[in-house]
């Protein structure tokens, strides 16, 4: 019987190594996402400022990050910083910096649009009930903002997880890199390894991102008011 090559996934510690690689990808995206949320919330609040200059500067930041491909940012931080500033980041560190830089901008924009979408009457109803500014924000504005935010937050998270596959290009050994190693190592014994390994990686990304994307769709439906 012709062998399909699927056994390449289970030879030795191959599958475990792939999972470990996946963990590296996940760790980068989760740390970066966490930092992005923490930094993006204040950034979003700043973006709603009435001050023109502050708004202009934050706009430039956001647009810069959006226009520049993440790969270019990664190279800039990883190679650029080492060559011109003399700071040597590990690949993982550079990745976290870049993804946080990107995520903060995107998160900020999400927070901004969620905040401005809350009708001014929500604030006024709270005030008319005798609430203080802090109470209005704590009981009314923040819960509503979070609700509006959750679906797009999930979306951003899946985008970030997928984009971590770029870090292979700055030498981080994550799931795609491990996959490549396995393929290279079994080039002669299993010529079809690429199909199986990349297929497995595809399924792994899918298994992680799909629940988030489903949760996002579900939340969107559920929280519609």
């Amino acid at each position: 019987m012709q062998d399909s090559g699927i056994q390449v996934l289970f030879q030795g510690t191959n599958f475990l190594r792939l999972l470990e690689g996946l963990l590296v990808s996940l760790r980068i995206s989760i740390i970066a996402m966490g930092l992005s949320v923490v930094l993006g919330i204040p950034f979003g609040v700043i973006m709603t400022s009435k001050n023109m200059i502050i708004r202009f500067i934050s706009r430039i930041y956001l647009e810069t990050v959006r226009i520049m491909p993440q790969l270019v940012l990664l190279f800039l931080v990883y190679f650029g910083a080492a060559k011109h500033v003399g700071v040597n980041f590990s690949g993982g560190m550079a990745a976290v910096i870049v993804f946080t830089f990107w995520g903060t901008a995107e998160m900020g924009d999400l927070v901004r649009s969620a905040l401005i979408s809350i009708p001014v009457h929500q604030y006024e109803s709270g005030f008319a009930l005798g609430m203080t500014k802090i109470q209005v924000h704590w009981y009314l504005i923040i819960p509503q903002t979070v609700r509006r935010l959750l679906p797009s937050l999930m979306n951003l998270l899946t985008r970030m997880i997928k984009t971590t596959s770029l870090v292979v290009l700055i030498g981080v050994v994550e799931v795609v890199k491990v996959g490549k190693q396995i393929i290279d190592a079994s080039r002669y014994t299993t010529p079809t390894a690429a199909l199986w390994v990349y297929g497995a990686i595809f399924l792994m990304y899918f298994a992680i991102c799909y629940p988030f994307s489903m949760a996002s769709a579900l939340l969107e439906k559920k929280l519609k008011d």
Partner: protein
């Protein structure tokens, strides 16, 4: 018998745009238990006036007294005064993330720090009175406009306000829902609640008011009893305004 004066406004001036004052020198007095209805063409400043009383808008000049105490938007205790002045808006503005009972209980629990047992009982009594006890657990999006507005009134009443400001509360409602809301307001008036009401429902104004203020272009043009105002308005401007509600057969 001289009734206790609860609110006094002296020479209130307010403008959004520097050269165009919306309110020009408004003076006004409200006694406890009185129901004053403010009518007038759109843009005459009646809603702005209510918003100024509740300090939702900064004012240019003038003084507002709540029981002999000067109230100002800039003061630290502004939220304490607002607890005593309830306000219901045209767009009801229930909190979409909370169910009906949650909407009603939020301020009594968090602002007045009353006990849950006490306020819950009171809320149920009030909800029952406006015919919405069975909607207690529902969310605002599941309610009709008229129902939402009745909840908004209950939410405001829960704070035991000494004055209730109603800002065109039926203007966004379908005609057949107007009555269910105004019926509630009529009962509140009967019970002796002090209210300032801005409305375009003239028949309702006639029924509920102790006193009618007719405003136009930022001034109080006419002030009289509903009888006088609706049957023999003194000013030409008021006559014109009232005429817009009449249709001649063709």
């Amino acid at each position: 018998m001289k009734q206790e004066q609860i609110l006094k406004v002296e020479q209130l001036v307010k403008s959004y745009d520097k050269n165009k004052p919306v309110l020009k020198d408004i003076s006004f007095c409200l006694k406890k238990g009185e129901v004053v209805v403010i009518v007038g063409p759109s843009g005459c400043g009646k809603s702005t006036f209510l918003r100024c009383i509740n300090m939702l808008e900064p004012i240019d000049s003038g003084t507002i007294y709540f029981k002999d105490q000067v109230i100002r938007r800039e003061e630290k205790n502004v939220h304490e005064i607002r607890q005593k002045i309830g306000m219901v808006f045209q767009s009801y503005d229930l909190f979409p993330h909370k169910n009906i009972i949650g909407n009603i209980l939020l301020a009594p629990l968090k602002v007045q720090k009353r006990t849950k047992k006490e306020v819950e009982f009171e809320a149920e009594v009030l909800l029952d009175r406006v015919g919405l006890l069975d909607k207690k657990e529902a969310y605002p999006r599941q309610l009709s406009g008229g129902q939402k507005q009745r909840v908004a009134i209950v939410r405001s009443l829960m704070m035991h306000p000494e004055i209730l400001l109603l800002d065109e509360i039926t203007a966004a409602l379908d005609p057949e829902m107007v009555r269910e809301v105004l019926q509630v307001v009529l009962e509140l008036a009967k019970e002796g609640n002090t209210m300032v009401i801005v409305t375009h429902e003239m028949e309702f104004a006639k029924a509920v008011a102790d006193r009618v203020l007719f405003m136009d272009e930022g001034v109080i043009v006419e002030e009289s009893t509903p009888q006088e105002f609706f049957h023999s308005p003194k000013t030409e401007r008021a006559k014109q305004f009232l005429n817009t509600f009449h249709y001649e057969a063709i």
